[in-house]
Symmetry: C2
Subunit: 298 residues, 2 copies
Amino acid sequence: MSVTVVGSVALDTVETPSGTNTEGLGGAAMFFSLAAANFTRVNLIGVVGDDFPKEHVDLLASRDIDLEGLEHAEGKSFRWTGKYHDDINLRDTLDTQLGVFETFQPKLTAAAKDAKYLFLGNIHPALQLDVLSQANADFVALDTMNLWINETREDLEKVLAKIDCLIINDEEIFDLTGEKNIVRGARKIQDMGPSIVAAKKGEHGCVLFAGNQLFSAPAFPMAEVVDPTGAGDTFAGGFMGYIAQQDSVEFETLKKAVIYGSVTASYTCEDFGPERLKEVTPDSIITRFDAFVALSKF
Amino acid sequence: MSVTVVGSVALDTVETPSGTNTEGLGGAAMFFSLAAANFTRVNLIGVVGDDFPKEHVDLLASRDIDLEGLEHAEGKSFRWTGKYHDDINLRDTLDTQLGVFETFQPKLTAAAKDAKYLFLGNIHPALQLDVLSQANADFVALDTMNLWINETREDLEKVLAKIDCLIINDEEIFDLTGEKNIVRGARKIQDMGPSIVAAKKGEHGCVLFAGNQLFSAPAFPMAEVVDPTGAGDTFAGGFMGYIAQQDSVEFETLKKAVIYGSVTASYTCEDFGPERLKEVTPDSIITRFDAFVALSKF
């Protein structure tokens, strides 16, 4: 089954302790799509400006990604500039230029509407609601961020009430629920709507809550992280891609989806932007999945 | 096989968001012993003052713990006072009264000398070296802290060169090696001596390095942490207790030992001091081990 993703495609300028990458390919929907396309067909709904390099579009087009829904608008592409600390878990946003993304009004293509699986990337919850009203998906997952939690909470609660799965990191859980404890926070989120909560803890792995069931997975231990930008979006892409490929939201499938998400995300961290991710194949993901099994089984 | 532990037995006054516990039973060697005694015979080497409540000694004596090496010295028992933040992962030490612990000179009993497994609790590395010279253990694990890493590094390096296993948390890895990455840090520590490094990450689990092998385990997810004091020492007790019980340091045993350590430590967090831990039985640990298997297998 195919998966539809709505979100940003961007040009990222990133400084990390390993170096600087200027105006590289970025954006949540881009990372999601490159990851998910290892598992299934992806419909990408997004917007780029007329300055967007053709090579980036060609890269995406070379994968199992339907770009009919990638709008090319007049104006500048979304640009983000960030700098990571020596502690690579910390970063500062230095600049955000929304460009054509500021007035982005997602319009689902016929294929995007009919996809059984939908991922609502991190955009204004009012837009997420609008996309939901266009889509026929059976299973909807959502990403959000502190900005929407704090500034547009009413809209966010409306969309949370309608979705199946929230993919969220630990800090956002605290912001959304006031709970400093992931287990209590996730239970509160389940009461808001989504029966499934995937609580991402970065280098510490992920805890999955599905109804009353719980699954705790470590992250893939890495000796070197070059650039973690997009790791969370890659996780979501691997997670949703595997679910769509298996066409199942059974707990056993969801657990494996968490591991596939973690494994795929580990590639993203190994180089700037999608430099490493774009070399990844379904086979290499399976090899690393097996390595993950080996290092976590007892 | 039995295990010997050398370390503190104390009276802890602890304030957490759940309440206050005044002069409760505490100390690393105490938590270690209560945990390990669920698996094997423990020889406890420590010191208490003449003000130490008899009920605490009676509690330890009621378990499979040899107290012949628990010295009763003239003077005050070691007292520690700490306060946890709303974020229970953070705490401040408000007061430390070393009392009789200040001049503690560990003397191993015959049984303690002959134990095949030895845990050097968090004391001055010169004392740890002295204990090592008294002992006939085949397998030695060690705990330390930032104080010794920063103030007595030369002695610490001497003892590290002689031991088999370092149990250490992520912050201490950074202090000891200058590496902000656990994988790189653990490899550096292995170069200092111990072939095995158990890197504790608190609520995020543990990564075990054994030679070139690696095992990553999540923590047991908890909805409520009343008091995490002693959780790390309890982990060490469950870890070493299981290894001594199995009389094996094979990788497969070490991995299960990490899980038994985590599971036993989860009990400690559920109430103040050892209040919950002291109710635990080998059977309840096995039940929770099985629950851990269920929530982490995929």
